[in-house]
Every structure is written in C-alpha cells, then in structure tokens.
Amino acid sequence: MNCPIQTKTSAELIDYCAGRLGPERAEAVEAHARICPACRELIGSQRAVWQALEHWDAPPVSNHFDRQLYARIDAEERSSGAIVKWARAAVARWSPVSWRLPVAVAAACAAVALAIVVEMPADRSAPPPEPPARMEHVDIEQIERTLDDMTMLKQLAPVGPHSEQVSSSM
C-alpha cells in the first residue's frame, strides 16, 4: 500500500478511524501504519478527535415539537383554505354580472374570426384577379357604343307617319 499521506488519499485513514473500511482495506492500512510513523500519528490523533466528538450528545427533542409543527401546518392549511374560499365567494358574487358579458364578447369575436378564416381564399399563391379598373373601362366603352348606335338610329329614322311605323315595328 502506498502512503495515504504522500499520495493525498488520507480520506482512507479517516475512513479507517471511522470504521468504514472493509476488512481487506483495513488490514492494508494497519500493515502500512506499522511501518509509517506519519500515518500512525495521524491515525492516533484522528481517533482522538473521533472519540472527543462522541462526547457531544445532542439534547432530546422537546415534547411540543410535533404539536407546534402540526399547528403551523394547520395554520397554513387554514390560510390557504381561506384564500380558496374567498376566491370562490368572489367568483360567486360577481358571476351574474361579470362573466356573461365577457363570454358573449369572446363568442362574438370567435364568430368574426371564424368568418374571416372561412372567407379567406384557400390558395394565397394563386394569380390575382383582373383589376376592376379594366372591367369599368370595358363597361363604359360598351355604354358609349350603345349610345352612339342609338344616336345613329335616331338620325337615320325618317320624319312622318312612316317613321312612326318603322319605329313601332322595331
């Protein structure tokens, strides 16, 4: 076994003094300590520390510990229960007035949103429709042509009873 002090593994000596080494490791430490004064000294002083610490018993737990703890838990439960009750009461008090209007508004908004979504074209990448300005241009031309035709017909029509006959036959 290498010297635990020189190899910076002194935790093994501490474990030995604490009785936490297995028998094989404990025997190895003992064999080493027989030939290593530094480790022997460390083991001796560490045992003294271990024994000194055993002098220090903690006082017994007071009888009222559990009672106080449960009282604190109960107090917390009550306060959290009181908060829950208060919240429920507040909701119940205000519910006839306050919840119907927001729900109605929310439903209306949802309906509008749904309508917008339904009306939107499914394929946004499709080419845009013909510009309406061109349609208007076509209509005006047609109207102008019609008016021109009517004017021409009026000019061509003869004046007199025959003309009335022609126009009534048209």
Partner: protein, 212 residues
C-alpha cells in the same frame, strides 16, 4: 500497529452487507412514504417525521449550537417538505433532499448571525443542557466539571470551523453519510468533499488531539 488496535466499530462483511441492504430499503421506504404524502396521506407524513425528526434536529443543534433555534429551523425544514409534497419527485435520496434543506437553513442562519454575539447563547445553553447530556449515571462534581470542560472544548472546536466544513463533519460523523451523499447535499464534487473533510479534521486534530 496491533490487530487489537483496530476500531471496535469496524464491521464484518456480512454486517456491512446487511446494513447496506437495510439502508437501501429505508431509502425506498422514504420515497414511497413521500409519494403517499403527495397523494394526501397524512399518516405517511407522520411516519417520515418520526423517522427523521431526531437526526434533523440533532444536526441543526450541532450546526447552530442552540436547541430552541435548532427546533425552530427543523420545523421550517418539515414545513418545506410538507409544502413541496405536491411537486415531489423521487429523483434524489429523500435524506439528501431533507439535509439539503436543513443545511441551507442552517448556513443562512449562521450567515445572518455571524456578527452577533453567539457566545452568550452557547454558554447559556451549556449551563442549561450540560448536566442532562451526561449519560454515565451519577457523576460527581469533579467528573461533571471535567466532562463539561471537554464538551465546551469540542463545541468550540466545531464552532470555529467554517460553516460548510462544519456541516460536512457533522454529516460524516453523526449521520454516517457517505461522501457521495454529503457531496450531493452540499452541491460539491465527491473529491471536493474529501478535501473539505480532510481540512476540517486537520483543524480538529490540532485542537482536540490531547483528548487521546
């Protein structure tokens, strides 16, 4: 070194295996109890309290060296355990989690009280609890004085340690925790804990070696 020098506490392999198995079973039981507490079982919380009350209070007592403060902090520990019941997940050992809470509270208390005069409470508590802590029947006055002097020396030696070293020594010595568990509790690596403990025991050896 003679074989007779081997510490009496060195366990046999069979004893050690049995102890380890019992420890594993106990850990599983703790996690199971805590899961039942999560389900609203108050009796399981009472069982956990019964199992861990004394170790937690004793650890805190040795950390802060004042019994009433230790009990107050311990109540806070168990209260936090109870509050955390709904979010508890058995990802770490229950005792590691418990002692992490306890250490956190103790270190905070020590930090807050660092500038206050702690010696007063130490002396008062020694006078109050000294006689009670003697376990060997009826000591005479001289024995009692010697015992109290030794005890004061031990307490002062522990108190002079930096708070983290103190916590590590107390968990190692009195709670019998493994290095890995102490490391998890103090949020350090295992090698850092070994080094921390070695430095702490070095200080204690310098102060308490004459007890041999």
């Amino acid at each position: 070194m003679n074989r007779g020098d081997r510490p009496e506490t060195q366990p046999s392999v069979r004893n050690r295996v049995t102890t380890d198995m019992e420890a594993v079973a106990a850990l599983e039981r703790d996690a199971e109890l805590m899961l039942r507490v999560r389900e609203g079982d108050a009796a399981s919380f009472a069982l956990l309290l019964e199992r861990h009350r004394a170790p937690v209070i004793h650890f805190l007592y040795r950390m802060v060296q004042n019994q009433s403060v230790a009990e107050e902090l311990a109540q806070e520990v168990f209260l936090r355990v109870y509050r955390s019941r709904t979010t508890y997940e058995p990802t770490a050992k229950f005792t590691t989690w418990l002692f992490r809470i306890a250490t956190h509270l103790a270190l905070n208390w020590i930090r807050d009280r660092k500038n206050e005069k702690a010696q007063e409470s130490l002396d008062a508590d020694t006078q109050e609890g000294g006689a009670r802590q003697i376990s060997d029947g009826r000591p005479n006055v001289e024995q009692r004085l010697v015992y109290e002097a030794k005890l004061r020396e031990v307490r002062q030696a522990i108190e002079t340690l930096p708070a983290k070293q103190r916590a590590a020594v107390l968990m190692h010595k009195y709670e019998g925790m493994e290095y890995s568990q102490i490391a998890a509790t103090l949020n350090c690596s295992e090698s850092a804990i070994k080094s921390l403990l070695f430095r702490a025991y070095e200080t204690l050896r310098a102060r308490l070696a004459h007890f041999a």
